[in-house]
Amino acid sequence: MKIICVIPAWNEAKHIVRVIDKVKPLVNDVIVVDDHSTDNTSELAKNAGAFVLRHPINRGQGASLQTGSDQALKMGADIIVHFDADDQFAATEIPEVIAPLLKQEADVVFGSRFLGKKSNLPFSKKYLILPLGRLINHLLGAHTSDPQSGFRAYTKEVAHSFRIENNEMAHCSEILIKLSQGKWRIKEVPITVTYHEYGQKFSGGLRILKDLFIQKIRQ
């Protein structure tokens, strides 16, 4: 089984080497998609041993993930892992996330911050933003405990079956909704997230809603 980890990165010079060093021993290949950073993310990632792709202009995290997933399929991936470049996820949990795929118990695995393991989630995120996100996803057909998890893994068959169309942060909900509507066996695995900064705010949540609505109309 060839396991490839895709890491979208934009101005992540501060974290990227540490993240690659942690992820690399656990997978066969690491693809870093540099979304036109203005710092030296690309050079650092290359020197750390990752396969690096660089967007000629900035297109957003969702777009970078799709570019990375396309490259992973070209490189013969059987399992694709999506992982963040900001060092908030625990790389040691990659084996736990891909285990249900290796045992053929699931086709898609989503990491969840709400299944037991302790994450230092900011209060407003835990009790306002994420519950609202969960409700919206639920209405749109995705019933997972974590509405915005960026730590996920799926098989090559799943990767061939759908495209990430939302360039920005709505891609998390988009992936959840698209895969929930498919024939795929979905499993959630508890993960730990260490927040270094707040991340997505309430205004970001509203932007996600707008992007999902525009995408729905465009279909």
Binding site: R54, R59, G60, Q71, Q219
Partner: protein, 105 residues
Amino acid sequence: MFQQAIALIFIAIFIWRLFQQKKHKQIGNNEFILWLSFWSLGALAIIFIRFLDQVLVSVGFSGSGINFLLYLAVISLFYFVFKLRLKLSKLEKNLTDLVREITLK
């Protein structure tokens, strides 16, 4: 009556254009249904304008036609802004596809 006929002719032209766009696959199903509903409702509002005037009066608005035209103008502006957003969204998608193709070469 004359103004109503002119407005209906314009709406008929827009609906014809919509069907042409659908035929040439320039718009998706959802977008087609959205605009078809929009223009159909507009046409119905014009056909039943007198009834609409009575309804507007009964809920406390002025019954004059010019007010109704103003409401229509605001709705039309919303329509054009929303249409621009959709167009922008399609351009963004095309741009991302192009960037991806260049990146993966």
